[in-house]
Symmetry: C2
Subunit: 382 residues, 2 copies
């Protein structure tokens, strides 16, 4: 049983988490019918418009038939918050909860405490900060995501947002639909990307893919991370490692956030740090909204210190109607969409199915998918 | 005198246009005070917002002091059309007319006939289709542009538009400012660029720069042009030459127009050609609006045959308030801005100054800048 295979037990079977000894297999084995709950966004009239639109409630990752044919129960909903929500009803007896970052079901310590049968929390996509990871670890749960499923999607989206800000696209589009034509009102602050200094905060999978895609644009590329990129790749991309974040940031014309939300990165861009950025800096954040101090971003966009801010992540999500980022000047925000392209959905649906299959068989997941493995946090969350 | 240095005379001085023999120099020499007229867009309150905003009426390419110190007269206006316009007043006695594609002064055969002193037509930027080139050639004029001044700007902008369409960015942005949150309404037709087939119609300077920037996106890249790209570059980019346009087009998920407007390309994308494109094709056109049949694009966007259309060029410009492209579904249009970034303005202002300097000194321009050289059309316009 996954739940009972707690930290204590795992520690006795060896320090290598990929060590699938017969004992561990036995502990991992999880026979019988499972109750699986998936929380996705509803597509309504859009569900029928694309046969590959797998990530919505209506399609439920395309795994219902497969799950039910094996005797499992599969409940799917978008109703995720509050004591009377559909999700809340199933918390006491679900075994597996599948969530997404796009319509996140917040898995609090309280919910984990109530979920007596819960063994496995899967993120269809990447990012598990909607889960109280400490509480999940303390309860001996496993939390995993489909690492890599949408890293290309997000990196491409970041490059789009960089260009949208550098070019001042949004006011141009607005002129068109408002029947106007005023080139000057756009071009007085429209630039080439070429020659600008772009820094990424974090150069993990997404950050690296972004840097590779930026390479032909002839920018000055910088990156900050805990670790240097592999020298061959660093040389190929031509990006410069910056050990000290606060040394890198004031050099950047454009800053892209590519770090997970952890206790270390929460509120990283507060009033003080933003005040030290170059005046007129552009910021792209598809990582997590809570990495920014919400009001500090609004104030800096209003003063012009930040000349443009674009991203698809908010705190909280869905963003309420009165979220100030909807109304601040010079933003190019969208709902949380960068990782839920149709191509991404196909990949993360396949990744969730693969992990469920391994879970039923008592097998390990691909190592990089683990956020919490049977009570033990992955290294980047420590 | 440039005007009198007509085709006939040039032909006698040698077939090499770059051959600056003493005789040619003498013919090119153009002594005395010149009347130079520049037609730019007005910046109004935006002029003061950026010291490098050179391309507007208020800054006039930053060459007024230089011109006047040499005894030349420099008239600048944005009032360009109709018999009572400021430009029309100066047509009879101007020697040089500087125009831009962003706020084009249409130089018709009639205007050329009236312009008895006209010798030189300069485009601050790239593209001279707002000039009746045949009439200009017949009158023995020289027409030149600042080739290369904003090719990077336009190529970057095209990649932005590709991603905006592939990602379905615009509806996402609109949701944000309208207080909505509906991920499904965006993502049911949001894709990765990776793996898609992108074809460029034309692989000149801009097309090549676009292909180079697309390379790391792992697309299937195709190009159609009169000539194959240099094999080394073709191999580096990994793009495939398509000799027959109509064989290439139906293969493309995304089509980018990178061909000048000539009598051969006018109306190239008509109803019939569009009907043969892949259903759901995305089209980016920063080349010229008249390459498309306006109504055929509207109809195909309305039916969904074209799933997205983005560009910054219109027919005519400025686009009237009732231009149907403003109101068709799934567009991401802007006014004509891609080539008038601040970086581009700095380059084309310098290029115009350089050509004026050479004109005053009776020297040749950089060869690639010529559209019409003293009555002779450059090869791509023949």
């Amino acid at each position: 049983m996954w739940r009972t295979a707690s930290k204590q037990v795992i520690r006795t079977v060896g320090s290598s988490l990929s060590d699938l000894s017969p004992l561990a297999k036995q502990l991992h084995a999880s026979p019988g019918s499972k109750k699986i709950v998936g929380v996705f966004y509803k597509a309504n009239e859009y569900a029928a418009k694309n046969p590959n639109f797998l990530g919505c409630v209506e399609r439920s990752l395309g795994i219902r038939e497969w799950l039910e044919s094996q005797g499992h129960q599969y409940i799917v909903t978008d109703d995720k918050e509050g004591p009377n929500s559909e999700l809340e009803k199933h918390i006491p007896d679900l075994h597996v909860l599948i969530t997404t970052p796009f319509h996140p079901a917040y898995v609090t310590a309280e919910r984990i405490k109530k979920a007596k049968n819960l063994q496995l929390l899967l993120t269809a996509g990447i990012g598990s900060d909607h889960i109280d990871l400490k509480a999940a670890a303390d309860a001996g749960l496993t939390v995993a995501e489909v690492t890599g499923s949408n890293v290309v999607s997000v990196a491409e989206d970041e490059l789009m947002r960089i260009l949208i800000l550098v070019r001042n696209f949004v006011p141009g589009y607005q002129q068109v639909i408002n029947g106007e034509w005023n080139v000057a009102a756009i071009s007085y602050r429209s630039y080439d990307l070429e020659g600008k200094t772009v820094g990424t905060v974090g150069a993990g999978r997404i950050g690296k893919l972004l840097l590779q895609r930026l390479k032909p644009f002839n920018c000055n590329l910088l990156y900050h991370d805990r670790l240097k990129i592999d020298p061959a790749l660093e040389n190929e991309i031509g990006a410069k490692f910056e050990e000290d974040l606060d040394v890198m940031l004031p050099k950047c014309d454009i800053i892209v956030i590519n770090t997970p939300l952890t206790e270390k990165t929460r509120g990283l861009f507060d009033k003080e740090r933003i005040s030290k950025l170059k005046k007129g800096v552009l910021i792209v954040n598809n990582a997590r909204g809570a990495i920014m101090d919400t009001q500090a971003v609004v104030d800096a966009c209003s003063s012009g210190h930040i000349a443009g801010y674009s991203g698809d992540v908010w705190n909280p999500q869905p963003a309420p109607k009165d979220h100030p980022w909807r109304y601040m000047p010079n933003h190019a925000m969208t709902p949380h969409i960068s990782g839920t392209t149709i191509d991404g959905q196909i990949r993360y649906a396949a990744g969730v199915k693969d992990m469920l299959d391994k879970y039923f068989k008592g097998e390990d997941f691909p190592q990089q998918n683990y956020i919490v493995k049977e009570g033990k946090l992955a290294s980047q969350y420590l």
